[in-house]
Each structure stands twice: as C-alpha cells, then as structure tokens.
Symmetry: C2
Subunit: 400 residues, 2 copies
C-alpha cells in the first residue's frame, strides 16, 4: 500500500543510522527534515527534572518554521548539567549546518540512560552520516522509527489519510516507549508529520488535545520520564486552504490526529516492557473528572492488579482494594465492578460468576475493566498493561 | 532464652491451628486470650473499603476491657456485604462463649483473598479447637504467629523487656504481611502483647506513634489493604505503678514499643513478596514534612528503582526521575543523590563514581538512598524493597 511511514506526507525526508551510542550496534541516530520549513508544535514532559534536549527544544519550538528534528536513543542526556545543554545545542548546530538552516530551526529529542554525558564525537559523525542518507522512501521512514527505539521490541507507526476541502491530507507518526511511561506525556518520544496547511496555534491545540486523549491515557509504570516529547511538523504542501479557525475542517483534522495517536498509544501498551496484554480501565460515577482519572490510574498502576491480569486470575478484590486506597470519593453501597461484560461485584455485594469466563476475558490481548464509584456523574479512562517477569528481567538487567 | 513470643508477657494465652480455610492445610485460625481482661488499643486501615473484621473490631475496641483476639488467614472477609458482617460477629460470639466473655470483648482480624464468603462451619469448628489448645507456652505463641501468615515465608516476631519504676515489663509482637503493603498501616495484621499497666488513652497514643514511625513507613507495592489492623493488648499484670501521664516512664515504654514495631517492619520488608533486599529512602531539604514523605514513597514505590536495586544496578537516574515526577517542590540546581556513602549526583551535575562500589552497596541486605531536594528544611524516610520475578510469580499465581 505504498509509503505509510513519516516520510509519506509531502515534504519530508528521514533517515536512521547507527553511530555507536548503543553497544548493540542497533540504530541510534534519527533525522527528520522538512526542507521547505514546517509549522511545528510540541508537548513535553511535566517532570520537574527535564533532559537537556527538552530544555533546548522548548526554546527552538518558538521559531516560526522548523526544518529538522534530530533524535538519539541509548542516552537520555538528562541530569547531565551544563555540559548536557552545550551538547544538545551542538547537535542542533551540526544538523543545521548540514541542511542549511539555523540552529533554532532544529528540534532535538533524546532517550535512554539518565546521567551519562553524550559521546559527542560519535554523535557528531552520526549526524553527518544520517544527513547524507536523507530520503523520502518508506525505508528511510522505517529507519527513523527503528533508530528511536530503546527496549521496544518493534517499531510503532501509524498512518492516516483524510479529505480536507477536496484535498487529500496525509498524517503519519512514530513513537517509542516501553517503560518509564506514566500519565501526562506517556510517550517518551513521538514524532508526527503531516502535509496539511494549518496555523501554528491550531496545530498546537490539535496536538495537545490528541495526546491528552491517547498517549496521556497510557500508564505502564506510573512514572513519566525526564525526556517525554511529542512533536508534530506540518509542511503545508498538501494544497488545502490553510486551516486557521476551529471550523469543521479543523475538527476533521483533529479527530484524525487523535485517532492516529490512540493507535500509537495502544501499540505502546502492547509493546510495554514484558507486557503480554493491555486493558482499558473505565471509571463511571466519579465525583469529578479528576477523581475519575485518579481512580482509573490507581487500578492500572497497581502491581497486584497487573500481576493478576498477567496470570489470567479473576481476582477482582484487588481492583476494589486499589480504588478504596487511592483517596477518591466513593459510595460503598453502590460500588460496582464489571470485567468485560461480566458483573463481579455490585452494590457492595459479591456477584456469583463463572471464574473461567472472566479468566478468558482477561487473558485476551485487550479487555475492559469498569468500576462505578457511585459518587457522582463523571467518567474517564486509561490504558494499562500486565506485569510479567520479563518486566523485571528487562529492568534489572538494563545496566548503566 | 525462654519465651519470646506474644505469650511471654504475663497474662496471655494463645493458639494457632488449621481449620481448612487454606487448601494447603497450613494453620489458619489464631486466638489470643487475656483471661483477666486487657486494656486494648488499635489502628486500622484508611482504605475506604474495609473488611467486615475491621468494621466489627472498630466497634468492639470501644469496650473498657478486651479478653480475646480471633484472627483467620486465607480469607479476608472483605467485599462480602452484610453476610460478611454477620459472620464476623458470629466469630466473636463463638470465641466469647468459649472463654466466658462478652462478644464485644473480642476483637477480630482477617487476611487473605478478597470477595469470598467465609467457610463458617470450618471456622466455627476451628475456633472451638483453637480455644481448647490455648496455652502460655512459647509453642503456642509460635502457632499463633504461623496461623496469621499468608504469602509470608517466615514468622515475624519481636520481643523486648524494659524496666519501668523498678519493675520488669515485657512487650512482644507478631506481624504478617508480604504484599498489598502501602503507607498508612503498612501492616496487614500486627498483634502486640504487654504486661505493662497503662491507661487506655496512653496505650492508644503509644501504638499510633509507634506504628506511624515503623509499619507506616514501609511500602512494598504502595497499596494498603482492606484489612490492615494493628492491635495491642496490655494485661497490666507486670506490677508497675500504672502509667497515666506522658512522663518519663511513658516515654521509656513508647520508645521500646516503637523499636519493637521498627524491628517488625524491617522483618516485613525483608520477607516482602519476592524481595531479596530492603532499603531506606531518606529525603532531606523538602519544603514540608508531607512533601518529604511523598518524595520518599515515590522512590520506594517506583518499579524501575526497585528493579534496578534487584539487579544491583547503580541506575540512579531512575531515582531522580521518580523525584521529578512526583510533584514535590525541588531546586534542580541543588538536587543531590547519595547511595550508601557515595554521592552520585550533586547540585544538578553527575558525579564520577565507581559503579562497582555502588552496585556492591545496593546488593547488600539493607542500604540507604538519600536525596536532598534543595527546597527546604524538612526530612522524612520510608522503607522499601526490591522487585523480583518472584513477586510476579506469587501474584500471578495466587488464584481466586
């Protein structure tokens, strides 16, 4: 079906190569270029400790046009002090020189181990090689997607086309992230390209909303990293009449972007470190929106629930325990829990059910847990995944 | 060294037997009796969903004298509705009849699977058999300690003697708990006996303070259960002049009780589900006491930190990530992290250190992680443990 990578929208070149940051020899430098200049928007981690790349990109995103994104994996360039900032700026300068842009037209993202200085000679050479390999081919898009991976076992990519005022628009994205994923930018790194013509303000709004309903709903281990970054570049080359207000055309684009981000978030959940399955927690009857999301995350982040799901064990008491423990308002007499389509606990009373049927539901690749708190009218949801021995293996062995 | 179990203080009888709640045939009913009546104090879970045992004990603790505690393991009698309450009251009545006390002079505690009704015929017979075996022998105390265990791999018991006004006082305690252990009653079940003469009010104060500085500082997986209960019974038979005000004698007793509870908390950390080692997180430089404990728990509860410690991996970036992510005030320019006696991060800059030395420190049975937030003058601490594959095995296989 042709190119479905981030080089699919008109106006983008990409590449991904190995420069030796990763001892494994896997790809670790990725470049994305929009030679005609792109409107850009980004959302960043809300961790109070941020990587040098986040600090620098927060400045550069203010530029009217962005021409490139440079990303490296294998080293987060976080907790690296003033040298870290210098190195991040150097990376932007090197890329800018090669593509004839200004340094502040280059965004930067890093992911990997925290607290180690970047191997700048390797990275400098890597950027030069990667720039020489820039291409709009699907292979180049795949190379980019591979070069941002850390403990991910597979690339996560998504692609959508839509019609805006009679013109075909393309959106494509790739994301990485398998651990250190918590609410408020559950992304680690996410790069989206589109050829739609849209104002910078509306591009920012559409990205923020889309991430809020997708990547921000995913929790693997409840903690956001120091490096989380989602960037969208819009080349404007599709030829549509530019979107400049929140009209029906904007809404059409925003919905498509949101769907693309949800697709990426679910791919991340299923490729979370050690995960074998994912689930959606839906909270109804909460006293407020904030309490609904708090309760949903309390369940999805609770190791005992995650282990039970991993074991296919319909141990719903742990779900109720998590909800009771997280501090949200609830009415015990109305508290209800439904797994898939089977009610296991209703109005504070256990309900007789066939454990084999519930075990089957939670052993599927995806399932839904619903809890009604009986305390109000608000609802929200989040995505989670099971906790396996492999999560421990991966994270006990990911050595510094 | 003689009796060091909960039957060591003057005036207590205990027993523990198997009545068939646990399929394994292990002990599951425990009784503690003070025939002369004891002053009693208790602290309970702050989970909004509590077991029937907690609901009933909260009423019975108001009695002036308590004559017995009945505990069962293998079934939590939580989320069991009105039948659960009836069953808990029946257990108290059965025990009361056998020892010639009133039902409201009997406290009750349950631990095990949530959401299943108690097998009351087995339990009724079990209480009768256990009452017939009551003894002040060390064996009886050990039987009690074994009968409250669930996934614990060993009994946790502690013992202390002290001198109050020339009179020898004895305090002894036992606790169970290996998972579903979070701050605010990180205990699951804890039973303490003493022969000190003390007023009910001061007994309650001393227990609350002691638990606050010990069992409440322990987090295994961040969630408190529906059943957490700590009970102290004071027979008053030691012969000391009763403690009725917060004088030096009270302080002596309170310190000893606190030390006993800390001993029990550390035993729990080292026997936490799958745990191979424990650690203390100390937070300095916090903007408030609340923020200090919040930051400490964020580190101790963070699966990536727990996995790194399990792997002996000095991956301190995860510690900083947890602190930055948990929402407390911090000054990045003053942020410092010390593992054991080795500074790994100081004033926002990574410090060169020998990874082998730090790996050796965090591979010990106990170590300390200190983080200075640089944001104020407050400190606090908590205890945590590593996360191993065995935690997953235990909790994916603990079937309903």
């Amino acid at each position: 079906m042709g190119n479905t990578t981030i080089t699919a929208p008109k106006g983008f070149l990409a590449s991904g190569i190995s420069c030796g940051i990763k001892k494994s020899g896997k790809k670790d430098i990725a470049i994305l270029v929009c030679p005609t200049g792109a409107k850009a928007a980004a959302v960043f981690t809300t961790n109070k400790i941020v990587s040098a790349a986040v600090t620098v990109s927060k400045q550069h995103i203010k530029s009217a046009d962005i021409e490139a994104v440079v990303a490296n994996s294998g080293n987060a360039n976080a907790c690296t002090g003033s040298k870290g900032i210098e190195d991040a700026i150097k990376m932007c300068k090197t890329a800018a020189r090669l593509i004839d842009a200004k340094a502040n037209q280059v965004l930067i993202a890093s992911t990997g181990i925290i607290g180690h200085q970047l191997p700048m000679e390797k990275i400098n050479n890597g950027i030069i090689i990667a720039a020489a390999k820039l291409s709009s081919s699907p292979e180049a898009g795949n190379d980019f997607a591979q070069a941002i991976m850390t403990t991910d076992t597979r690339c996560k990519q998504a692609f959508k086309t839509l019609n805006i005022g009679g013109v075909k628009i393309t959106i494509a994205g790739t994301t990485k992230g398998a651990g250190m994923i918590g609410p408020n930018m559950a992304t680690t790194l996410c790069f989206i390209t589109t050829d739609v013509a849209i104002s910078k303000n509306l591009l920012q709004k559409s990205l923020k909303d889309a991430v809020g309903n997708s990547l921000n709903k995913l929790t693997v281990d409840g903690h956001q990293s120091t490096n989380d970054t989602a960037i969208i570049l819009a080349s404007g080359l599709a030829g549509n009449k530019p979107i400049t207000k929140t009209d029906s055309q904007y809404k059409k684009f925003a919905v498509a972007l949101s769907q693309l981000c949800t697709d990426l978030a679910k791919q991340m959940a299923l490729d979370a470190e050690g995960a074998t399955r994912m689930f959606t927690v839906v909270i109804n009857g909460a006293a407020s929106k904030d309490e609904a999301i708090k309760a949903a995350r309390a369940i999805a982040d609770y190791d005992l629930v995650k282990c039970a799901i991993h074991g296919g064990d319909p141990n719903w008491g742990r779900i109720i325990c998590a909800v009771g423990s997280c501090g949200v308002k609830l009415n015990p007499n109305k508290l209800t829990c439904v797994i898939g389509n089977i009610t296991v606990f209703k109005n504070d009373q256990p309900v007789k059910f066939d454990p084999k049927k519930v075990s089957k539901i939670i052993s599927q690749k995806e399932h839904t847990i619903m809890v009604n708190l009986g305390a109000g009218k608000f609802s929200d949801f989040c995505y989670g995944c099971d906790l396996s021995k492999d999560y421990v293996t991966i994270n006990a062995d990911y050595h510094t």
